[in-house]
């Protein structure tokens, strides 16, 4: 939270990087992207649509954080990039290859969530197994140091604490000295010290030209680490940009109180049309009674609507002036998480 409060208010809402197509701009200078998802659709056999037209490009040496609520499609996107799952439509490329190619996997390191299975292999043994998969692995001592595993190398996985497990899984991702790292919530369960140590390692890897994609629930982590944040919701990229740009989405241009990202939720029953409501000051999201958020008609809305605005006072003033019949008014502060959900259109 504190990071958000320290945000400069200067960030202008007019430069919101809201379009998904912006993602490629930052990388346009590099000819060959390290990894890319292009216009991906993923529909599971049970009919659930996990991804819907998602595009994402990773450039050499960049740290990208994939942010979004549970079920947004983050892990599906990662699975596609790992070649563990095939897209219904669109193309996945890792170093210009199919992600299932051994040649692509030899340059890739992966950290996934592994459950509490009482595994009887020692930390040292697991690292050696994974080092054996790669032609030019990272030196064993270097892996142990980078992942902070000194002193627990002879313990079995089952004996490790949650944080130690995360560090061991991180070590396995580093084993092949890969050019591309996928990290699924790498710092879950780590204490602050270990988390900062991992951040430092990741930064130095990126400085050496490694590319890193991480998913996280922590805005703080994305903010501290990523060159670029990609917010995903409902299977598509809703916004993308530098941490400052993405966070500025929630901070009003001249807001007097930048708390909780400066966003407020306004709930009311109004006779105003959608177009009029969206034109109110600072509106970033509008939820209609039937749950739609993307209507473009100007027909009247019926029932309770929820407006998310970065300029609540101005929006309210206008709203009340425009609609004398407005009732059931409610103004609420979204939690930080909710503010992000609002950004992602929920």
């Amino acid at each position: 939270m504190s990071l958000v409060l320290e945000m400069p208010e200067a960030a202008a809402t007019s430069s919101l990087p809201t379009a998904a197509t912006n993602t490629t701009e930052a990388t346009s200078t590099i000819a060959e992207p390290v990894a890319s998802l292009s216009h991906i659709a993923k529909r599971y056999a049970n009919g659930v649509v996990a991804l819907d037209g998602l595009s994402l490009t990773l450039a050499r040496g960049e740290i990208v954080a994939l942010l979004g609520p549970n079920g947004a499609g983050k892990s599906t996107a990662v699975k596609l990039l790992l070649g563990l799952s095939a897209p219904t439509a669109g193309q996945v490329r890792i170093f210009g290859r199919d992600p299932r190619d051994t040649a692509a996997r030899l340059r890739t390191g992966v950290m996934l969530q592994v459950g509490k299975s009482p595994d009887m292999l020692r930390v040292r043994e697991q690292i050696q197994i994974f080092r054996g998969y790669y032609p030019a692995p990272m030196a064993y001592a270097e892996i142990v140091r980078a992942a902070g595993l000194e002193g627990i190398e002879e313990r079995t996985f089952g004996q490790l604490s949650g944080g130690q497990r995360q560090r061991m899984l991180f070590a396995l991702a580093l084993a092949g000295d890969p050019d591309l790292l996928f990290l699924d919530e790498p710092t879950v369960g780590l204490d602050i010290e270990a988390r900062r140590a991992m951040w430092a390692t990741l930064r130095s890897l990126a400085a050496r030209g490694k590319t890193i994609l991480l998913t996280t629930h922590y805005l703080e982590e994305a903010d501290a680490l990523a060159h670029r944040i990609v917010v995903v919701d409902k299977g598509t990229v809703v916004c993308s940009g530098t941490p400052t740009e993405v966070k500025s989405l929630g901070v009003a241009a001249g807001s007097a109180q930048p708390s909780a990202l400066g966003l407020k939720l306004i709930r009311c029953v109004t006779a105003l049309g959608e177009e009029r409501l969206r034109a109110l000051p600072g509106v970033v999201n509008l939820a209609l009674p039937d749950g739609r958020t993307d209507g473009r008609t100007d027909r009247l809305t019926e029932g309770l609507i929820t407006l998310t605005t970065a300029r609540p006072e101005a929006a309210l003033r206008e709203l009340l002036a425009l609609d004398p019949t407005l009732h059931s008014l409610e103004v609420a502060s979204p939690a930080l998480e909710d503010a992000f959900l609002a950004l992602t259109g929920k």
């Binding site: 563990l84 996997r105 030899l106 292999l121 899984l169």
Partner: protein, 262 residues
């Protein structure tokens, strides 16, 4: 595609297979719930039912200690395959290890073969222990050729049960896997004639046994000792092959549906 050749480099694959197998064996050995019960049960059962009880009895003119050696060898090997591969794979699948391994450049076949070879190794360990007991305590005479045949059958016999274990792991969540494995293991052992000779079972069960891989393997094992069995050698190999192919097919289907839904 120059690096594609790298993935096909047989030396690399062999080296990985060797490492995977070595650590899979170590892992199973350290997993006491596996190693103690999988080795312990056939040995203890054989001591009780083959060596202590029925001491001076014989089945169709063959000493019980010799006759039962075949049955408990199969019993031990089936346990190693079913629990080593079925339960082991289910736990790695459930915990997410398998996904991590699949995303790595490990050749998938190395993973499966490592599990299979480890189960074979456990099977051979069990057979050696049983044979040692039979020869020393039970006074069973066993020629080197008979022993070699028994070991060979143990290695080959793991395959159908490895496939069954794979299907089990793909179909059943980890929490249920050990229970289901037992539900398959124990009835299949009894009905396949591993504990009680086939001839002593009711006629209807003898017919049912034709569908059980334990039955076919046990008959082959008896044949390896030159003991009287039921049915032809060819029919038993066919039975095992048919069962293996059926399990492989079902496992492939299960894997595909798992892949589509994950």
């Amino acid at each position: 595609m120059s690096t594609a050749a790298l993935s096909l480099d047989p030396r690399r694959n062999l080296r990985i297979l060797f490492t995977e197998t070595r650590y899979e064996f170590i892992r199973l050995l350290r997993t006491r719930s596996f190693s103690l019960s999988v080795i312990g049960f056939p040995v203890i059962f054989y001591i009780f039912f083959g060596l202590i009880m029925n001491r001076h009895e014989s089945i169709q003119g063959v000493a019980v200690a010799r006759y039962m050696l075949a049955g408990y060898a199969v019993f031990g090997m089936v346990g190693a395959a079913l629990f080593g591969i079925g339960v082991g794979l289910a736990s790695e699948l459930g915990a997410g290890w398998l996904e991590l391994k699949r995303a790595s450049p490990m050749p998938p076949l190395a993973y499966l073969l490592a599990k299979c070879i480890s189960a074979m190794a456990f099977g051979v360990v069990i057979v050696c222990l049983l044979t040692l007991l039979a020869v020393t305590v039970g006074g069973v005479a066993l020629s080197p050729l008979e022993f070699a045949r028994m070991v060979g059958l143990t290695v080959a016999g793991v395959v159908p049960f490895a496939c069954l274990g794979m299907l089990l792991a793909l179909r059943v969540p980890f929490s249920a896997a050990p229970g289901i494995a037992n539900m398959l293991y124990l009835p299949m052992s009894f009905l396949g004639g591993l504990w009680v000779p086939m001839q002593f079972l009711p006629h209807i069960l003898q017919k049912l046994a034709l569908f059980l891989p334990t039955y076919h393997l046990n008959q082959l094992m008896l044949g390896a000792f030159g003991l009287p069995g039921v049915g032809s050698t060819f029919s038993h190999w066919s039975g095992l092959l048919g069962f293996t192919l059926l399990m492989l097919g079902l496992a492939a289907l299960a894997f595909r549906s798992l892949e589509q839904n994950s």
